[in-house]
Symmetry: C2
Subunit: 302 residues, 2 copies
């Protein structure tokens, strides 16, 4: 029998538990007055001998969420679960996926390897940032792409649409959506004018004039990159700019920043513990797709 | 050549670096707008081939401090340090040192084992809470006791002093201070009146009437236990109550709570990233003792 533990930071997890037919195990979660976290599985005897799916996310409060996952892993090992995996729709620290400058850690690997050491059999993640780590980690991270779902919700009123990745690193995500829907795609190239020093973003091959552009990316944090890209594309004659991003962290005034730069609609996945409420922002439910993936894993893992 | 890295949360670390004759390596520390942390060793080439002492503490913001330590460990491994250890005057999560109720994790072991996996050769800790883990962990944690130093600063105006541990678990700490100074010690026993149901704390053997009591403990968080003990001891005729606690987290109104309950003076160790400023609170510098211990380790570790 499959059991699920849904961490308090990701309410969507209850539907996931339902869709995979798992019984939800209760967890006591609290924070002591001094800031230390505490968790306890309410009925550990139900975890014993079971396959357990832990559902949590890592935004907001990335560090707290990480430690809570380690605690749940430890509690499940001690409760003698047959095996346990984690569904972490948003896996934080994934952008620090290599040593960009000497002296840096690779935080993404720290997070993943520590969760592995905590006994999680696999991590199921929505739109993991780092393609290089995905190939390095030998299927330990199961990446669930959702850019097609996000783009589809924006297609209803799109004219001559084109999908653009904001950089070459995000191209795979754009291609995935474009191919499944059947529209053109390209990526933006950053260039600097040799005389004025001005930086600009232009699509590598396509022309955007008169077309609706859908920018596809995985994480939108301060909205700076998208705002800049949007302004450039508008200058190049784009008709309208839409944004399809899996993880809408939307820090500070990110939303205003993008809308001011000409963005008309934003589609986000429901991967975080928070949501913004705004008429131009639409959340796409990725729980059914996660459920399909989790069921497959549970079927194949002993 | 020994190098030191002092994390931004523990300014006392610079003196420690000085006392062990280490060159301090710069670290860039920042927090991204979305809350993720970033660290980078400024001159990693200086870490290469060196013994490196990382000095950080785990209060306030235990979870952030923990992850920063993991990042520094990873960065040092990648910078090819010959070996590195961590001085963590206050090691958080040490109170959850066993499964008190089924379904719980052992958070103290998670923290210690994860730091070990991050490559820290040893952890040097002031007054580690868990005696059971100290014996389990095969000298991985080097525990630096300081209760004698704290008690000494309170002895100047103590009359017929007696040292009391608030429970049997803290007895070793009380004994250590008492033996090094040469005064009586005992521990408090919690008992419940069978008729009224009232809980009281009384010393197991000694009488406190007319004597100055110095309560010795490792961590004071909300001050609840000490306030209660203080009230009981005053009822039993104690002359004055002093408190010697290594880690003064002093959450919320902890200080007022203790002073209201009759506590006259409080001695704390400088193990945290924060201090309170109050005429009845005195900080005792434990850096020289830490330095002695670190020098010994560096001398014996290849």
């Amino acid at each position: 029998m499959v059991k699920a533990i849904v961490a308090g930071n990701y309410g969507e997890g209850y539907r996931l538990a339902g869709e995979i037919g798992a019984e939800t195990l209760g967890v006591v979660e609290k924070v002591f007055p001094d800031g230390e976290q505490y968790v306890r599985i309410s009925e550990p005897e139900k975890a014993k001998g079971s396959k357990v799916v832990v559902v949590s996310t890592m935004y907001p409060m990335q560090d707290q969420a990480f430690i809570k996952l380690l605690m749940l892993g430890d509690a499940l090992a001690r409760s003698q679960a047959a095996m346990y995996l984690a569904v972490i729709p948003y896996l934080a620290y994934s952008r620090q996926d290599k040593v960009f400058m000497p002296g840096e850690p690779v935080s993404a690997l720290i997070v993943v390897n520590t969760l592995k050491a905590a006994g999680f059999r696999k991590l199921v993640v929505v739109d993991f940032h780092s393609s290089s780590l995905l190939s390095q980690l030998n299927d330990y991270i199961v990446n669930v792409m959702v850019s097609d779902l996000l783009v589809k919700t924006l297609m209803s009123d799109a004219e001559r649409p084109v999908i653009l990745a904001p950089d070459k690193g995000a191209l795979e995500r754009a291609r995935f959506a474009a191919n499944s829907i059947g529209v053109d795609y390209d990526y933006l190239v950053k260039s600097r004018d040799r005389v004025t020093g001005e930086v600009s973003y232009t699509p590598r091959e396509l022309r955007v004039a008169g077309r609706d552009v859908i920018i596809v990316d995985d994480i939108v944090s301060t909205g700076g990159t998208i705002a800049e890209a949007s302004r450039m594309l508008m200058k190049q004659g784009a008709r309208r700019i839409h944004v399809a991003t899996s993880h809408g962290l939307l820090v500070g005034n990110a939303l205003t920043r993008m809308l001011d730069a000409g963005v008309r609609r934003i589609a986000l996945a429901n991967t975080l513990g928070v949501r913004v409420d705004h008429p131009l922002v639409e959340y796409v439910d990725v729980v059914p797709r996660l459920a399909t993936v989790v069921k497959e894993i549970l079927g194949s893992e002993p």
